[in-house]
Every structure is written in C-alpha cells, then in structure tokens.
Symmetry: C2
Subunit: 123 residues, 2 copies
C-alpha cells in the first residue's frame, strides 16, 4: 500500500528521534568488536584469563579448561588479540595472554551510553 | 609433541586460575545474547529506539533511518525482541518498540564482572 508523501502533514504515528543515534561507521566498528566477544569459547577464554593472577594466563593453562584442541584455542585467542581484548607475549616456549581492561571497559561504557533510554518528556 | 601426565609435578609454566571463570552453560547463554547485539543494523535500531522520547519508537520511524526494507527491519527487530532488548506493542496499524533498560544493563554488568581482571598478588 503506497502512502502519499505529504510534507506538511506528519502522520499521527511519527515522532522524530530526540537523542543522538549511532552512525553507520560506528555501528560497523562496534558490531565487529562485539562479534569477537559473541562466542562461548572466547568468552570462557577471556574469563579464565581475567580470573588468573594479574589478568594474565599462559596458553598452556587455557587449552584444558575449554576442552578444545590447541590450534582451535589459538584461533580464538588470535581473534581476541586482533579485537584488542588481550595482548600476547611469547616467553620461552609459551605464549602468555593478558587482558586489556581498557578495551573491555571502553566497549561496555560505549554500549551503556548508546543504549541508555532517553527519559520520557511527557507528564 | 605429547606431554607426560605428571600429577605430582606441575610444569613451570602453569599456575591455577585464582578467580571464578565462566561455565559452559552461562557462556552459551551470554554469547547468544551478544550475537543478537553484534550486528550493525540492530545496534543502530536499538540506538534509534533509545534516542526516542521514553526509549520508545514506532516501527514507522525505524525503516527510513537505517535505509533497509520494512521486512528486513522487522526481522532485526524480531531478533532484538526475542533476545529481550526491546518489547513490542501493537497500537492501531503500527507496532511500537520499547527499550528494556534492565536487559542492556544486566548484560553490561554481567560482562563487567566476568571480564574484570584479578589484581596481581605478586609484589
């Protein structure tokens, strides 16, 4: 059903958004970061790393708890590293992963601001 | 390279996790919720709804800003509704979507606790 374009007569349904909404570029970037997090294995790996002393864990401590092969765990850790949630440092034969608190906090703060409902102005 | 199972001799690399890590069931549930959010169109829709007065928007106000067809927008809104981020109410010919602040806050708080790095206990 076509609707007549009547610029002088707003339809009863429509009110303009009052706050600021997310632009396409920021939406793409934020969705990409969230996708890195939106996986059960990666969430478990991050929480295991976070639970270690100083938020740092050896890859040798990450394979057994998630019950997957070392290559699969390494793939997930690469995704997390590329998304900036952890940093990787090689020491001797092992790689160590450290949580980047600013990356987690930054994402959560950004989402918190973005998705805070604007208060109603009606009485 | 196979490693000998030596229960009495921990390898030099390995320290047990000190905090509590995420279990498989919670990880699946949290990842599912995050996946609903990890899409640029859905993030934009949520932010547009949040930016409207009272965190409520008519579907008629959501189609144009994201530049997609009404069926595509409806699909994304269904995903957000099923994930609990918005509620849907039909009034007359239009559906209205309202942000559920507790759903957003609950997810962000859960992630914040989960991914808070345990302080280092070494001097």
């Amino acid at each position: 059903m076509a609707r007549d374009p009547l610029p002088t007569a707003p339809t009863a349904c429509c009110t303009p958004p009052a706050g600021s909404a997310l632009g396409p570029h920021d939406a793409e970037r934020t969705a990409r970061t969230l996708k890195a997090l939106a996986d059960p294995t990666r969430l478990r790996l991050l929480s295991i790393i976070a639970a270690h002393d100083g938020g740092e864990a050896c890859v040798c401590d990450l394979v057994d708890p998630v019950g997957l092969s070392q290559p699969t765990v390494s793939h997930h850790l690469k995704v997390l590293t590329e998304a900036g949630f952890v940093t990787r440092e090689k020491r001797g034969v092992w790689a160590y992963y450290t949580l980047v608190p600013d990356a987690v906090d930054g994402l959560l703060t950004h989402l918190g601001h973005l998705l805070a409902a604007r208060p109603s102005t009606s009485p």
